[in-house]
Amino acid sequence: MKNKLKDLIELFYVFLLIGTLNFGGGYSVLPFFQKEIVQKRKWVSEDELLNYYVLGQCLPGLIAINASTFIGHKKQRTLGAIFATAGMVTPAIISVLIVTIFIYNFIHLTIVQNAILGINAAVILLIFDALFHFLKKSVRDKSTLFIFLLAFLLSFKISPAFIIFGAGLFGFSIKKIRGEI
């Protein structure tokens, strides 16, 4: 019981640390996990961590959060998952609250707007990198290209949840018709 509590507090602390040091989430957290969780604390092995990343991508939501949840769950079941994830999101929420309270009021200042204009250009590049990375893995033939283009056009008109749901159903039906499942 005492050990469990100690584990939970440590989980929260370690993920709090990682969440504070990491900017951006996603794959950029991977090196932090490798250093703090695999090498230093040996909570999971290198292979397990990679599995969590692969599985985290199969699931909806944020990859870094999904990986944190997996690690927490391995250590202390559902409570561990909650503590690890809570540690990971706390710095993100606090930094947003600080920005909103202290800086967001200055958002219309020219210098802030100019910085944001520059940052947005970088954001386009970062999204392009992410998109390119995902496209290479998921769009490989005519059918997947068709789904990509159709979903892109529909996203101007239809709520994204419907598109995702429809695409999953479509994928399942095609594979069923082809007799692959």
Binding site: A64, T100, I103, L117, A130, I164
Partner: protein
Amino acid sequence: MIYFILFYQFFKIGLFSFGGAYATIPFLYDLSNRFGWFSHEDIVNMLAISQSIPGPIGINLASFSGFQAAGLIGGIIAPIGLITPAIIMISFISKFLNKFCDNPTVNAILWGLRPAACAMIAYAMFIIMKVALFNLPKFHLTGQIQDIFKVPAIVILIILVIVDKKCPLHPAWKIILAGTLGILIQL
């Protein structure tokens, strides 16, 4: 009541967004259109700031959105809603972990779903390009062709692409470089 709606809406995003933070952006546009908690311009601003502060971008974005919609408590409830589906699903899946990704039915669904998730990210990029590189409201106002483009932003994008080709930069450095250029170019 607004807290309940916020939680539900972000729970839904957590359940249906595949592909990370950028894949949540089309959902935020959808919320903006339906509830008017924040404008499209707010989303682009929030995204720029989220890139520059600690934590996963998706959590930052959710917290910003919740804050805009319902103040301090909203800023906490929205990210909690976003991560709840993952915690539930992973606690459930962990028991038969490796079988999950090898299951043919799961694979068939993911096969169809991943290109659509890419399309969500492409749509997010399209929207951000529209706001970040072009100034359509000004063009509609003046009718001058040269007013369509935000020239400084386009110049910065080109500089970043060239620098990144020469020596790949860590995302954090790209953000810092771009922000600095943004201030310097327009002095």
